[in-house]
């Protein structure tokens, strides 16, 4: 080992940095001044310059055959991942913790988690053909939309949907028919069954809605029993159904543990009709709910392009808003 003069040692780092192009301006002057007086360091400087020159030569990038095949392999794995990927977000709401999941095709899942905030306990966490990843800002917007909806500040969720978690073609047709029930309206399980051309499959419709992967967005809360009772919601969450219908202005009879829709306080639309009626018009109050859709307000009915019945004139004799 050669021993260096202290002043050479002191400047060594700056000398190497300057020689190899890692310049910090204040150091350059000091190094240059030192080099003027120190022959050995001048030589060192030159050698480091050469080292740097050679090191930069290492950047030369020869063609690599394996590069293209590695890229192709990556693209195919990314495509697969993209297919399976669901970005999710869990957030608190007046209906408890809610998880929303979005794939590249659209919203794939809305799930009530109750008090839990854990992905693992969720339906998404247990699905084996999806890859759940925590979502970013895009999901914040969806969260706001949903909270606005629950608070009654927004009437529709114009989200693109991914139906992949619908368990079957039948389930999907049930969900699509349900998605067509307008805001502020209620229909019956039997009504949905009729609309998908399977009038006897009422129980199967109820089952499909029980496993609705997109509650709220696909408004299964607007589907009730033919008797007018709410009957069930997402398993055991009848209270949430009541809350959501309340937000939309649907009138309810509290009842003893068995809430039902106040049919006499809602406008009615017979199957196939384009005019909506007062609940007292003709025989509409006695018709089965499988062939009648109820609306909370005239505005909700007219938003769907319906016109007031020319016999009972709901436009002249509106129901009281109370």
């Amino acid at each position: 080992m050669t021993t260096k003069h202290p002043s050479c040692r002191a400047i060594e780092r700056d000398l190497v940095a300057t020689a190899t192009g890692d310049v910090e301006s204040h150091a350059t002057d000091r190094v240059q001044r030192h080099l003027q007086t120190c022959e050995p360091c001048r030589e060192e400087f030159g050698r480091y310059r050469a080292v740097d020159h050679v090191a930069r030569g290492l950047r030369a990038t020869p063609p690599i055959d394996a590069l293209a095949s590695s890229r192709a392999g990556l693209e195919s794995r990314l495509a697969d991942l993209r297919q399976r990927r669901v970005a999710y977000r869990i957030f608190p709401s007046p209906l408890g913790q809610i998880l929303i999941g979005r794939s590249e095709h659209g919203i794939a899942l809305v799930e009530y988690l109750g008090a839990s905030t854990s992905l693992r306990a969720s339906r998404l966490g247990q699905a084996d053909d999806v890859e759940a990843v925590e979502g970013g800002p895009e999901l914040e917007r969806l969260q706001r939309d949903l909270l606005d909806y629950i608070a009654g500040r927004r009437r529709d969720l114009d989200w693109s949907l991914d139906w992949r978690l619908a368990s079957s073609e039948f389930a999907r047709s049930v969900l699509e028919a349900t998605a067509a029930i307008p805001y502020g309206a209620v229909s019956s399980y039997a009504g949905v069954a009729r609309r998908i051309g399977r009038p006897s499959a009422v129980r199967a419709v109820a089952q499909a809605l029980r496993w609705n992967p997109l509650p709220i967005v696909v408004p299964c809360h607007r589907v009730i029993g033919s008797s007018g009772r709410l009957t069930g919601y997402a398993g055991d969450k009848l209270g949430l159904k009541q809350q959501l219908l309340g937000v939309e202005g649907v009138k309810l009879h509290p009842g003893r543990g068995d809430v039902s829709v106040a049919r006499e306080a809602m406008y009615a639309l017979g199957e196939g009709a384009s005019e909506y009626c007062l609940p007292t018009c003709g025989d509409i109050s006695t018709r089965n709910l499988s062939v009648v859709t109820l609306f909370a307000s005239r505005a909700d009915a007219e938003a769907r392009g319906l016109t007031p019945c020319v016999d009972c004139r709901p436009d002249l004799h509106p129901l009281s808003a109370a």
């Binding site: 480091y48 290492l58 950047r59 990556l74 990927r85 990843v133 925590e134 999901l139």
Partner: protein
């Protein structure tokens, strides 16, 4: 989303990340695995990435972490290193003196670089071959920018020492 689509990230950076990992791991198979893993991880985290993040530096950080995990087993490192020198191509002896000297030096430098402790080697490659800022190198190596700078300094010193007694290529520009 304010971020660019992920496909453009792959298009812009895959080749560079692959080359980086090839230089660090010495094996095409490992570079293939690790570069794919780098981008799959990046894809998973893409939505959550800060909009003004430096994507390139971020990818290097992921790649560097994977490379360090890869070499956590020292025996793997030795096995990989043992195969390095044989793969070097020799220079055409008919080439001009100066070119030949440059290539000889280059082989020597590569040998020293390949034998450096992992952190120094990574810091050197990130700085000298990929021009990353010390800030970003520090983040990749989980150390401060100053430590990153020190790693590069140590690497250069060892390379310089490794060239003792070897006639270096002349450089017209050396003052």
């Amino acid at each position: 989303m304010g971020l660019q689509p992920f496909e453009t990230v792959v298009a812009a950076h895959h080749a560079e990340i692959y080359r980086y990992l090839l230089r660090v791991t010495w094996r095409a198979g490992d570079a293939d695995d690790l570069s794919q893993e780098t981008f799959l991880r990046a894809y998973r985290a893409w939505d959550g990435l800060n909009q003004d993040a430096n994507v390139r530096a971020w990818l290097f950080t992921i790649a560097t972490n994977l490379a360090r995990n890869h070499f956590r087993s020292e025996s793997r490192r030795r096995r990989a290193y043992a195969g390095v020198s044989e793969t070097r191509t020799d220079v055409d002896p008919a080439s001009p003196e100066e070119t030949r000297r440059f290539h000889e030096t280059r082989v020597l430098v590569e040998r020293v670089v390949d034998g450096l402790p992992l952190k120094q080697r990574l810091a050197f490659v990130l700085r000298k071959l990929h021009d990353l800022e010390y800030e970003a190198i520090g983040r990749s190596l989980q150390c401060s920018p100053d430590s990153a700078r020190a790693h590069v300094f140590q690497a250069l010193k060892k390379i310089r020492l490794g060239l003792n007694g070897h006639e270096l290529p002349t450089m017209e520009s050396v003052r």
